[in-house]
Structure formats: C-alpha cells, structure tokens
Amino acid sequence: MLKDRRRDILVALMMIAPFLAIYLLVFVYPTIQMFRVSFTDAPLIGDGEWVGLANYARLDNDPLFRRAVWNTFYFVALTVVPGTLIALAIALGVARLTGRLQAIVLAFFFLPYILPVSVVYLIWDWTLNFQFGIAMHVLDWLGIDRVPVTKSARWFMPAIAWVTIWWTAGFSILLFLAGLRTIPVEIYEAAALDSANRWTVFRRITWPLLSPVTALVLTIQLILQLKIFDQVYLFSQGGRPNDNMVLVYYIFQRAFQQNQGGRAAAVAVTLFVLVVVVSVLKFQLLRYAERRRQ
C-alpha cells in the first residue's frame, strides 16, 4: 500500500513501545540477571562474590537436587500423557451430548480449572484427609485399607498428579472439544455410509484428525508441568518436603528459605535450559512427524 514509510515506522514504534518496555524490564533483564547471579554466591538480596561454576558443580552431588530433578520428571510422566488421555476421553463423552445437558456436564468438568490452586489444595486436602476425608470413607466402604495419600512417599506424586489432572483437565477438554468441532459432520456421515463401527470411527477418523490438537495439548501440558511448584508446596507443608522436592520448590527453598540467591539461580538456570531443550526437542519431533505424515 502506498504510504509514508517513515511515519509508518514511527507509528509502529509507538505501538510496540509499551510492550517492549515491560518485556525488557520483567523478562530480558531478569533473565540476564539470573545467569549472572548463578555464577556468584549472592544471597537473595544483595551482591556476592564471583564463584565461577561452583554453584553448578555443587548440584552434581546434591541428593536433594537429584531428587528434585527425578520428582519433576516423575510428575511430568504422571500428568502429561495420562492427563491428556483422560481429557480426551472426557471430551469424547461430552461431545456426544447436546444442548443444556452438554453445557452442564461440561461445567462440571471445567469448574475446577478456574479455581485458584490454594482452593484446589484445600478441597483435596480435605477430601483425601486420612481420618475424615470422604475418599477414605469410600475406601472403608469398599473394604480397602486407607491410604495416607499425601503423606506417603509412594502416593504423594501420583496423588498430586491426580489433583493436577483434576484441576487442569478442563483446559485440555476444551481444546479437544474445539478440535472435535472442527471435524465436519459429513466426515462422520461418510463413515457411517462406509459401514464404520464406533471403534473404527474413533481409531481411523477421530483420533488421526485430532492428532494436531493432541500434540498441542501435550506440548502445553509438558511445558506447564515442568514448572510444578504450587501444589507440591501446599501439600507437603508439615509433611515430608524433601521427599517431594521438585525443581521450582528447590529454587524457592534455596532462595527464600535459605537465602542463597546464587545457588538458587543455578537451579533456575538448569530449569530454564531444561524447558528450552524440551520445547525445542518437542518442536523438532513434531516437525519430523509432520514431515513423515506428508
């Protein structure tokens, strides 16, 4: 379009300036700082001595850090794929319904997602309470031994994973529903005329056509769950924090409980790199899969 280029650029600058200012302040600058501080022995607030790679070297045989890494990945494994599958199953069920009934059922599944994590924590802490939780009453009724869900090392991560799935599934369900809606009805009608039964329709039509949404949900979940903190922190108060250690919790503990800004920053950098690597890997994988499909 025929226009005054210089004025255009000026207008563009005016428009991106507010965002850019905030972006530089709360994103670029802290990121640079994080890397810088990780090479010092700074406390939380204030400067420290340059210590080179010492903070990273210490991570190498730090059992708590190792547990944090392990737990983080364990949590990711427990939430990402199972959460996605559960959301998919629910979405398929909800999509069958119509009208008001669908709206209500969807609301039931979605409501947890909009609740703050601290509310989710209180609700489930109560539900799973070893003495009075209704879940335990149900176990009694089924004749199963009560399980100290949030207090035992074996059950803690699965329980947190379940609570997380319960909490966040609504989001994935919506994405799947949106994905399902983009599949034209005619495709299903064509399949009906092609004598496809329910299972064939799912396996040969719905599932492949949903694969882009599935990939999207998996990616979002993966990046999200690597950053797990809130639930673990809330549920392990007074319990066994060290058994339940995850990366962000470790950063929090080092920085805010033990006032070791530099060591915390080293962990933060590790997490940072981890997420970036996983994202890039995932991206490449998807691209590769995409190319193979073509």
């Binding site: 607030i45 100290p148 207090k151 074996r154 007074g238 319990g239 060290n242 058994d243 805010f256 006032n259």
Partner: protein, 400 residues
C-alpha cells in the same frame, strides 16, 4: 501516637488469648501506642516471610520468634540485638528468667530476643476412657507413666477396652513428632548434636530405640497413623483417642470445650518416662526485633516497641491461660499462677526440660526440621525400618 507493627504466628486457642492481650494493651495505651497486629501461618511460611521481608526492609517492628531458631536467624542476620539499654528500658533483667530460658535467647553473650514463655509438650488424657479401661489411678492420673513397658501396657489395655486409638499422635507431621522423639532421646541421655557432629557415638542407637518404640506402637495399632495435627486434636476431643501427646498450647482448646460442656473429664501430665529419666522437649516463644535492611528504627518507635514487650512480659499471667509457662519469673512465682490448672499438674516438668541444640541448622522450619520430617513420617507409620531411617538422617544431617 506510635503504631507498632506486630507479627505473630499464633493461631488457635493461644492466638485468641494473644489477641486479647493486644487489645488490653491498646486500651491501656490509648493515644500513645497502638499495636497493629498480623497473624501469619505458623512454621515455614512465617519464617520465610520474616526472612524475605527483613531482606527488603519490609519486616514488622516486633514479632514473636521461637528461641530455637535464633542461631539460624543470626546467620541470616534478621534479628536486632536486645541491648543492655533496652533491657533496662523495659525494666527487665536476666534475673527475671530461668537460666535455660535466658540461655536460649543468648548468643555470644548477646541477647536477641525476650522470652515470653516456655512451652513443653505434655500428655493429655481422657479420664472417662481411662477409667473404663481401668488404667486411671486414684490420683486421677494415668497409671503406667513410669516406664516404656508400663506405658505400652496401658495403651494395650485401652485398646482391649475397645478404644480405637489409645494414643493420638501427629504421625503425619515429622516436624511435629520431632518434639516427642527428641524428648525420648533425651530420656536416654542422648543428644542430637555433639559439637558439630550429628548423632555421634551411640546417639544414633538411642534415636533408633526411640523410633523402634514409636513404630511398635503404630504396628500394634496403639497410636493413630498418618494423622495430621488438626485430626489428632479432633480424635482426642471427640473421644476416639484416649490420650494425646501435644503442646501445652492445646490447653485452651480443652478448657474452652470443657467450659461449653462439650468435653469429657480431661487432664494433662508430664510426658511418661518411657526410658531412663524424665525429660521433655520445650521451646520458647519470645519477642524479637527484626533487623530491617536499609531501614533504621527511630528512637521513639524503639521505645514503643520496648514498652510493648515489657508490658506483655509483665502481664503474662493471662498468657498462662493459653497453657504456656510464662518465662517472666515474677509471674510464675505468684500464688495466683501456682493455683492454675492444669498448669500446676505439669509445672513440675520445668526441671526436666530440654531445648533444641543451639545450631543454625536447628529450630522451627530449619533444615534439621525438613530432614527429620522427611524420615520420621515413613518410619512412624511403619513404612521404613528405623535403623535405615537413622542411617539416612545421620548422613543427610552431616551433609548439611
């Protein structure tokens, strides 16, 4: 008028009493000093908050602080010294406090807090249930407080009498059980830290003994499993647990319930001697003045803060209704205090109290807490072998 920003971590029954004292103070100082009080969540959240806010100059003017945490606080530089001038301004001196208590707030000859109380743990019991099981003595106290075997037998008797949980224990919180375990170790003459070393010599065995005993109770169904704090109290007050080891701060809960006629006949005594000698863990609530980074406290404000502390100390008779044992000598020596129940029943234990080791690793929400907590929960609930746990604890603690 000076407004004094005040933080405490006192919820529950003692919180109610502290609020009462604050409003009394404000009434007495109307126009000159006003306390603006905030109650934060006890434990890790409180101390994390204190530490981060002191670091950015946002800490309050005065706060409650566990004496056990003072060494840790000093390494973090969050506490201001209570100087000799301060002491005299408050009209208090070393002679007003028991030696162990004074010692708990002292480091390198300097004081960093003013002790308000000592709060040991005690054994609460349900007289009605004990009587039913035939283990209540004529003095109204439980029989079988003399040795481990006796105590276990008493628990068994309760069990046999159909009590579901003879002993309510906070088995879901290792940091809480630390108090009981530490007491029982002490009953064997053990200590956690010898110099800088953790569980030196046969101390590890003593810890193992303790854990074995507690685990045995669990395995025999004598104590509640995976019970968190509120649940323990609920089990006891609802009559499902016959006894409970808990801090004296639960006394107000009992007295209040009893006052409303909603509670059975209850009592509280010093911890049983399950090993060699009586010994009970205690900590001290004290008042401390945070060292706010980049922020100097004005003289007027400091004077007001000191007045607050001083007033609280001198009026700590009322604090005793929260179950705690006031640290201020003149109060505990008063006849009025000596008549208070159940305080009188367990007041004997002051002689047998033991405080946390003086180490920057110790104290509420300190690193030792986290390590212990992590191992105690599985051990006490029968998931982990005591010896293995002690091994792990020793290794981790010494690595700190």
């Amino acid at each position: 008028e000076e407004t004094v920003l005040w933080w405490d971590f006192l919820g529950g029954g003692d919180g109610v009493r502290m609020k009462q004292m604050i409003s009394d103070f404000n009434a007495a100082h109307a126009g000159t000093i006003k306390i603006d009080a905030t109650t934060l969540e006890w434990g890790t959240p409180f101390y994390t908050k204190v530490q981060t806010s002191a670091a950015v100059g946002e800490a309050p003017d005065v706060m409650t602080y566990h004496a056990s945490r003072i060494p840790l606080a000093l390494t973090q530089g969050v506490l201001d010294e209570i100087t000799a001038d301060d002491w005299s301004a408050m009209g208090l001196s070393q002679t007003d406090f028991a030696e162990a208590t004074w010692d708990a707030v002292t480091s390198d000859g300097k004081q960093y807090a003013v002790p308000l109380d000592t709060h040991p743990i005690v054994l609460y019991y349900n007289r009605d249930l004990l009587k039913k099981a035939g283990v209540l003595g004529d003095d109204g106290k439980p029989t079988g407080l003399g040795s481990g075997e006796e105590f276990t037998a008493m628990l068994q008797a309760l069990k046999d009498a159909g009590v579901q949980f003879p002993l309510g224990s906070v088995t879901a919180s290792g940091d809480f059980m630390f108090r009981t375990i530490y007491s029982f170790m002490c009953q064997q003459g053990g200590e956690l830290m010898t110099g800088d070393e953790f569980l030196a010599g046969d101390n590890a065995d003593k810890l193992t003994n303790t854990l074995e005993l507690l685990q045995q109770w669990t395995n025999d169904g004598l104590q509640s499993k995976y019970t968190d704090y509120p649940a323990t109290v609920a089990l006891f007050t609802s009559g499902e647990a016959a006894m409970m080891i808990n801090g004296v701060w639960e006394v107000p809960t009992m007295t209040d319930l009893a006052g409303q006629g909603k509670l059975f006949d209850w009592g509280a005594v010093e911890l049983p001697v399950v090993f060699d000698k009586p010994c009970t863990y205690a900590d001290s609530h004290s008042f401390a003045i945070p060292k706010n980074r980049g922020k100097e406290m004005s003289a007027e404000k400091r004077a007001a803060v000191l007045e607050v502390i001083s007033w609280m100390e001198k009026n700590s008779q009322f604090w005793a209704t929260a179950g705690h044992i006031p640290a201020y000598g003149p109060v505990t020596e008063s006849a009025e205090y000596k008549a208070m129940e159940p305080n009188a029943t367990y007041s004997t234990l002051t002689a047998n109290m033991i405080f946390d080791p003086k180490s920057p690793l110790a104290g509420i929400a300190g690193p030792i807490f986290d390590v212990m907590s992590t191992y105690y929960v599985p051990t006490l609930n029968g998931e982990m072998d005591p010896a293995e746990a002690v091994e792990g604890i020793k290794e981790e603690l010494n690595a700190l």
